[in-house]
Amino acid sequence: MTTVEEIVGSLESGTTIGIGGWGSRRKPMALVRAICRSALENLTIISYGGPDVGLLCAAGKVRRLVAPFVTLDSVPLEPHFRAARQRGAIELTEYDEGMFMFGLLAAAHRLPFLPTRAGLGSDVMRVNPDLRTVRSPYGAAGQEGEELVAVPALTMDVALVHMDRADTRGNGQYLGPDPYLDDLFAKAATRCYVSCERLVDPGKLDGPPQSLLIGRMHVAGVVETPGGGHFTDCGPDLGRDEAFQRHYAASAADPEAWAAFAERFLSGDEAAYREAVRRWHDERGQEGTR
């Protein structure tokens, strides 16, 4: 058990950080917001990208991004990611989403690469000139083996994932319909930090055993962050805060609106963020998110 500030304080500029979740789904947003408040810079981010990437781009933390896409799901395009790319502010290593998974699988299993057809013939090969192909040693009689893309291992210094539940030893549990690739991020990283909606004692992770996604052997620290996935989808406890995401996306598309958004929601700590979001919902006459 640790704190968000301790976790972020253990990171160094220039480090490579993998972020779990998928698009605008179960992202470790409390940790991402803390990185945005920190002095860290020149980060390499590995992510099935969503608002995690957007916020980090907006805060100028990203030197290089490794991703197959960046999206808010119900809002197709991520405004901050778009702006960063269009300004030439970040380097991008763009992979097919299946290639990306093989890169995680390779890293999780200490392999230098894994082969796949995905990527062959596409411009992924052109825009990543370091990508290599590999020829299968198992050609049929009289035939050369098949040529495949050798996806390099997506090794990372640190992985950040957000779980629905975790215990104080660091075991992580998901309760929604999709584990995404979070266990692979945990295994691909030198050290993994888990934030969770609710922290429980060991032995108190209720639910089917196959929901116990991340084992404590892969976890360096765990922190309870209620609403720490906001505004991304953390079902079944908390669906995506669509109204707030729309407000985020609209603000992000306009520099003046973004300055106001950042001042209102991102200038304080996580508790201040949650309070600001609650007030925003109250003002709109809607039920607060939590």
Partner: protein, 292 residues
């Protein structure tokens, strides 16, 4: 396992000439969006028990309509991680599930191959190369889009079709800026082994249906939607579509383009219209994607 094999091997063409007085024409009053839904559905005809992966309203409706009618073996999702026991209305809760398909399994299924995907495209060229990544130079795009997402793997591993709600020269370009999805020319350059699972099926737009069966693997007219004329399509396309300018060109028996008249996308049947309007899309989401 299939208990519904009777539809296998049925005609794939899904087109019919609907000249004046054609008794096969469906009921009058079908909207363009409904014609598009049926044209999308036809992309999965004959596919049997595979995952129909759909993106875009008319494409999603088409997959579920095909499953409800002529292709009952298809598997369809709730738009998330669940394979639904029955096709559900668009946007509705999944109801009972018959399977679980979280993203990792979906990505594995792409590699496995029992899947026919219908994607969108921000740009498509005459060989079916498509771009969903970035407009302009990739290194510093004028407009950054989604990213290549699954397009490279989809196109090299699975049968792939496209649904493009607004046929225009912005989308139908001479050359895509970034090739996210692999077209027939790039697949040919990879050689027959590397490209043996590459299989571009068809492109459905708000104006017509196209495939890549021109002799050089380029885009060919399959059918124009009722009420669309060839000049309208030509003006909305940044390259020449095979068979569009010369509809009389013989292309063999039972192929579109024969008979000297423009092949027409078939009209929805009465039952298809009922399923679209009353079951799958009672809220009329299709009309927001394709305006009447």
């Amino acid at each position: 396992m299939s208990t519904t094999g009777a539809d296998r091997g049925a005609t794939r063409a899904g087109t019919a000439r609907t000249g004046a007085g054609d008794s096969d024409a469906g009921p009058a009053g079908a909207t363009r969006a409904e014609i598009c839904v049926v044209a999308c559905a036809e992309a999965w005809r004959g596919d049997g028990e595979i995952l129909a992966a759909a993106m875009g309203t008319c494409s999603i409706l088409g997959a579920r309509l095909a499953r409800l009618t002529f292709e009952p073996g298809l598997l369809t999702t709730d738009g998330g991680a669940l394979l639904t026991a029955e096709p559900v209305p668009i946007g509705a809760p999944a109801g009972p599930a018959e399977g679980w398909m979280p993203f990792r399994d979906h990505l594995w299924l792409v590699q496995n191959g029992r899947r026919h995907v219908m994607m969108g495209a921000s740009q498509i060229d005459r060989y079916g190369n498509t771009n969903i990544s970035a407009i302009g130079a990739w290194e510093r795009p004028a407009s950054q889009l989604l990213g290549v997402r699954g397009a490279p793997g989809n196109t090299i591993c699975n049968p792939t079709s496209y649904w493009i709600p607004r046929h225009s020269t912005r989308v139908f370009v001479p050359e895509v800026d970034t090739a996210s999805g692999v077209g027939t020319d790039r697949a040919a350059r990879l050689g027959p082994r590397a490209s043996r699972f590459h299989d571009l099926r068809r492109v459905v737009t708000d104006l017509g249906v196209f495939d890549f069966r021109a002799p050089d693997g380029s885009m060919r007219l399959v059918s124009l939607h009722p009420g669309v004329d060839a000049g309208e399509v030509a003006a909305a396309t940044g390259f020449a579509i095979h068979g569009l300018a010369e509809p009389a060109e013989p292309a063999g028996p039972a192929e579109p383009g024969t008979g000297g008249e423009v092949p027409r996308t078939r009209m929805p049947t009465g039952e298809e219209l009922r399923l679209i309007r009353e079951v799958l899309d009672p809220g009329g989401l299709r009309d927001r994607e394709v305006r009447a």
